[in-house]
Symmetry: C2
Subunit: 111 residues, 2 copies
């Protein structure tokens, strides 16, 4: 789903990753982390897709919410396992959303 | 591939989309647009993944480069076809990258 985010400005964390072949506990942990992120103050939404690379974009109210999430103790365990087991490489980019616009095909156009 | 981007600040355009079932010319046009984007002034890199949704993040030197790319005449034709044919819905977010960091597993750790 495309995340429903508020009016700008807000923040986006772009996490781009290349996985290892080791899937042990990965899907389970990813689901737990998404559920946990959703409970954090300032969390606004998340979008994720993977084929050759994975891209997960999480949206946040402000930089403090992002910092708190990065330092969440359960999240730190997941981050450590990510570096040890699941990821060959990743890049995290913390960004401020300055402008956004969207398109939805009308029912009429869908036919 | 994870895009090799310069030191912050730079800009990221996050394009999240849900496709229609109509694939006509889509893959071809997507490839042409990536090739064309790479030729634009200020283009820094691109990352893309699709499963249930598609996420494409393109990276740019500044807002002017993004504006010029949005107004590129061939790109406008592709954008129009996107709304008419290929996309049920999409959201575009223009963001300023304020901080980034990365991880690469060392050869030693890979074993």
């Amino acid at each position: 789903m495309i995340a429903k985010t508020p009016t700008v400005p807000y923040y986006a964390v772009i996490f781009t990753s290349i996985r290892t072949d080791d899937d042990k506990d990965y899907v389970e942990m990813a689901e737990i982390m998404v559920d946990l992120a959703k409970q954090q103050d300032g969390f606004l939404g998340i979008e994720s897709a993977r084929d050759e690379i994975g891209i997960t974009v999480s949206y946040w109210k402000d930089l403090e919410s992002i910092k708190n999430w990065k330092e969440n103790s359960e999240h730190i365990i997941a981050q450590d396992k990510g570096r040890e087991i699941w990821y060959k490489s990743f890049k995290t980019r913390i960004t401020k959303v300055e402008k956004d616009y969207e398109f939805h095909k009308s029912e009429n156009e869908k036919k």
